[in-house]
């Protein structure tokens, strides 16, 4: 794995993400500044981390999505390279048009910072192969705008093609409005593009990868990526 973690002004989860990638893959990722125009040679995974890029001005992720480095990220995705967007990173790659739909204000109007349960709806991806199908995992969320919306046609397509990868659920895996923290359509917590190389998710798997975090449920996501990518020289 040769990962690059993007850094924008106002991002604050880049260190957590870099530590998770290094802990699981054994290789430190490159930290790439938003004004750069190229990714480091040989990058096979781009991670857009969480935070509050540009103070969430205009719309969450809107300004970061137009940063110079994002052209290189689009080209990387176009070549089939893997892209993971977490939280603000999900908002950024969606604003950049790498994923359909949009993330709007939580239905409750509240910023939500807590642990939720997620159901792994599709394990046949480069990001989730180390999970079991239908596995229920715990994962922290911390966002004010995580309410996934898209037009009916897009939602139908995501559902029909198994592109809803993570869904909010209760501890038994049951999906209900009560277990949906932000009002997302169909309790969507994470989606993947049609080609299967760009995944966006609101929850933070990087914050549940060692015992001191209180659990290891985020680790299989990184294990999956390590398995999917060639070993770095």
């Amino acid at each position: 794995m040769k990962a690059a973690v993007l850094v924008f002004p106002g991002i604050n989860r880049e260190t957590d993400m870099a530590k998770a990638l290094a802990a699981v893959s054994g290789v430190k990722p490159a930290m790439v500044w938003h004004t750069d125009t190229d990714l480091p040679a040989g990058t096979d995974l781009v991670v857009v981390p969480g935070g509050f890029s540009y103070g969430d001005y205009l719309r969450c992720g809107a300004i970061a999505a137009r940063a110079p480095i994002m052209r290189a990220v689009a080209a990387h995705a176009e070549r089939g390279g893997l892209v993971l967007g977490v939280c603000n990173g999900f908002q950024i790659i969606t604003e950049a048009g790498l994923l359909p739909g949009a993330l709007v204000r939580n239905a409750s109007m509240k910023f939500i910072c807590k642990e939720v349960n997620l159901k792994v709806e599709n394990r046949e991806t480069a990001f989730t192969s180390a999970y079991r199908h239908g596995q229920v995992i715990r994962c922290p969320v911390a966002h004010g705008e995580g309410n996934y919306v898209a037009d009916d046609g897009t939602i139908a397509e995501l559902e029909a093609e198994g592109r809803v990868v993570f869904r909010y659920c209760d501890p038994t895996g049951h999906i209900s409005p009560a277990a949906n923290p932000n009002g997302s359509t169909n309790a969507i917590a994470g989606i993947i593009n049609a080609r299967g190389n760009v995944l966006g998710m609101m929850p933070h798997p990087e914050n549940l990868i060692e015992a001191l975090h209180g659990g290891l449920d985020g680790r299989p996501l990184f294990d999956s990526l390590v398995a999917a990518l060639p070993k770095a020289a």
Binding site: L58, R59, A62, E95, A102, V104, R105, M109, V149, G183
Partner: protein, 80 residues
């Protein structure tokens, strides 16, 4: 030339902020208010002097950055 861009949420997109304002207005006794929706106003000072060119330019700005056309509509007014 000055342009004013008004960005509004598309019909059907939930607007929790509008709902909160709706509730607050009702609590103040304004019971004649139906649905409330919140949008944004963005004022731009433009160097352009030709209105048609300015219109095309502002439309491009809206489509590329100022509005997210997945969830928002935009309207442009020119002043002065």
């Amino acid at each position: 030339m000055k342009a004013r861009v008004v960005v509004t949420l598309k019909n059907g997109v939930l607007d929790p902020q509008g709902k909160a304002i709706e509730g607050a207005l009702a609590s103040l006794g304004f019971d004649g208010v139906g649905e409330v929706r919140v949008g944004k106003v963005i004022d731009l000072e433009l160097k352009a002097t030709d209105k048609a060119a300015a219109e095309a330019e502002v439309k491009a700005m809206c489509e590329r950055l100022l509005a997210n056309t997945v969830i928002e509509n935009f309207a442009v007014q020119f002043v002065g």
